[in-house]
Amino acid sequence: MFSEYSKIVKDGLWLNNQAFVALLGLCPLLAVSNTVINGLGLGLATTMTLVFSNTIISLIRNFVPDEVRLPVFVLVIASVVTMIELAMNAWFFGLYKILGIFIPLIVTNCSIIGRAEAYASKQRADKAFLDGLSMGLGFTFALVTLGSLREVIGSGTLFTKAELMFGEAATTWQIDVITDYSGMLLAILPPGAFIGLGLLIALKNIIDTKIKQRKPAHIQIPIQAAQEQ
């Protein structure tokens, strides 16, 4: 039982990371990952959407006829995103203005309909909830990593404009990683996002290879299995 849940978490955060492995939702990933705070904001909004949409879709999965499931999923996701958009408009207005069109565009993020179709519509609500949460956090992790990479290289800072998310107390959070830096525009422009994502995927593959080498894969020996029977 526990191992099932831990597998869901591991899949979401690392093994089937929506950004690094499934390569879904690239449009927001590449468009708003120019600073850490933008990435974190959109990542958390996407996580909320995934959690709600996965749970609701799992709860109604037995009442939705198979033929109309996709329109129903899209309706559910769109309603959830609308609510999140309105909430961000109310409480995080500065961030809402920066992220702009990319908040309503969460509806079209393929990883959300992907999880709904591939997982939530076939599983119990608690598992679907956990899946939404871990997939969302995995996506947020990717956005924040790419965002910090691009922010440090592009403008030499970290956590700039943190007050948009954490209130007035966070105005002093900005860290000047490289002082007296005139910036490297390419990292902030879209090509920088593609190059950065490519390098991060390469890094993830290196880590995976290292892990595999350290821990040889468990091979089931057929003879032993036969003897046990």
Binding site: M184, L185, L186, L189, I195, G198
Partner: protein
Amino acid sequence: MKFSTVMSPHLQPVNSVDRVMLQVLLALIPGIAAMTWFFGIGVLINIALAVIAALLAEASILGLRGRPISATLKDLSAVVTAVLLAISLPVIAPWWITVVGSLFAIVIAKHLYGGLGYNPFNPAMVGYVFLLVSFPMQMTAWLAPVELSSVALTEIDWLKLIFLEQLPDSVNFDAVTMATPLDSVRTQLGLGRSVPEIQTDSAFGFIAGKGWEWVAGGYLLGGLWLLWRKIIGWQIPIGLLLGLGLFASICYAIDSNQFALPSFHLLAGATMLGAFFIATDPVTAATSVNGRIIYGLLIGSLVYIIRVWGGYPDAMAFAVLLGNLTAPAIDYFTQPRVFGQKT
């Protein structure tokens, strides 16, 4: 009596990568010499920096990839990339511009795609565009040619300028830099002056800019030598110059006040360097005979279009990269027919 039997082919191929690359480097000498004469020794410092950075980057990434290091370093392809990048840069570019550009060219544009022979884009031009997009301020500070400059920089001044970004105390930055001819045509047209008026300015020489036309002539000389040695084919350079020249002639015929002479476009900026040394890169260019003519014409017209209507004063790097992008498609549609095959 014993006869040794040798398998065919009986004629050994004479061209190897290192021989071709060495000749390309030799052919660059007249252009580099002209550039040193008119713009000072900064270009030599840039070349040295770029070559060192490129060789170090090549060696370390070959090591990472588990490939033989010394054999690949000796093929001189990294040196050619570094030299082409260095001579495209403004001569007073700070040292880190040159180093970062060479690293990007070798690591990202060349080796991440699989190394020499696999890179779809010309590494030197990828490095140049990367720098131009990332550091527009440093990449557009061109020095005035020596005959127009009132300041004489000594060797020590040059080293200070490139490594410490310091000018001598008595000199300010605006006194040594100057808009390039292509740049001034562009901005002055925007101010409502006509081309013949602009070309009476002091920066313009006989055909193109003072100094610049001689540098272009140097590259033309080197390029003709490469053609004579059969290192490059005639199709790409002729196609490119024709594409640019035709486009410029048509526009000049329509309105000679708005569009500069075709001869100005042929000798200004990077036209000659691009036509003979950059567009002809065998790895990234089209390969079929007809394809190479189309490829040249395409790059030539793109250069003109971007120069006149685009956002940048010169366009060789962008045009070459766009041309690289189309090279596989051009090759696909211009494959020569096998004898006897129906159309």
